[in-house]
Symmetry: C2
Subunit: 190 residues, 2 copies
Amino acid sequence: MALFTLARPPQTNTAKRRQLSCGDQLHQAGDEGLAWRLQRGVLRLDGPQGFASLAIAGDIVGCETLLFGVYTFSASALTDCQLSPWPEGDPALSGESLLSSLARAQQRAAEIIALRGGQAVDRVLGLIRLLAGTDGGVVLPPRQAIADITDLRFETISRIVKQLERAGVLVPERVAGVHATRSFRYVAGQ
Amino acid sequence: MALFTLARPPQTNTAKRRQLSCGDQLHQAGDEGLAWRLQRGVLRLDGPQGFASLAIAGDIVGCETLLFGVYTFSASALTDCQLSPWPEGDPALSGESLLSSLARAQQRAAEIIALRGGQAVDRVLGLIRLLAGTDGGVVLPPRQAIADITDLRFETISRIVKQLERAGVLVPERVAGVHATRSFRYVAGQ
DNA sequence: CGAGCACTTGATCTATGTCAACGGTAGTGG
DNA sequence: CCACTACCGTTGACATAGATCAAGTGCTCG
């Protein structure tokens, strides 16, 4: 197994907070840059073979730059996102913070894997639950992005979203500056 | 976001090395126990909804026990495995070691996600590549386990394995004490 | 007002699921 | 050593969820 060395001294990341809106790109694979903690929103990570993973509020993105200097994945926002530079605290690379990030990453992987198995409707619903705020408001990414994540086709996603709409699970809800076909209220099934 | 505290003081894990053979279970979700580093082999992790993830040589398994005291997933061996207790070193929870584990976990997630998308044959081949040693020798897990990981059915796996065998990609190879239908040599396609 | 997307919808096709029967192998108990 | 059982794997016939192909429609923005 390779031994890694830090590409930079383990100092606090002094970059500024960052805000992304749905669709914006944070970085591309191979770019130089720093690591972030995702405070709010959902990011999509892509590798050379397409969709690679999701990052959700609390996750650390791009931590590999501290080891290799460059990002392994491209990252773009599926919803509006808020990011803060990482490492953040004083004993920033403290074992405990990293340990919970590691546990969280493994938990996350299981959730995403679940989005790629089972019936098409359930996969889409699973993703919607990840994207929905606690108030039930959801702004869906483009159909094609949902398709990439769930390993379905965008026509299938379109049919499923419409079907959920007709079933009353998704209620269309106009939000300023958002495609009319994308903002909904998710009514959790009883 | 929740704040975690360590369930145990961050001391070196003094448990002994452990060896598993194909099929053995390391622990069940909810059990108390310690964390391990997987030195050799491939483990399957299962959550409440079934297959959750794979762990591959170098990965840390069960690190959440340091936070919660119990395992989140059940773990069982897909191939013969060798485990060593973790944390291992002196400044064991050192940032750098954890950081590379975190980067590795994210990389791993992407690999496993790739096993659940695209054509059935490619998914199975992807898994075989993960399982094959550098010498090309592979001992496949039962068809049902392959099916769980790739989100296919065991009949489909059976057909695909046979098809790869007929195509000369997998060459049957008797190994003592292993089901005759499971040990092969993987001949990488040019 | 027109161009370019993203989405919708229908018709058809196909990869994979499902169901069912059967064969081999390992283990167990007589 | 020989039933007998319990898995696991194989194979065929058939069903279907979702893919694919092909028009449309309707936002959004210049």
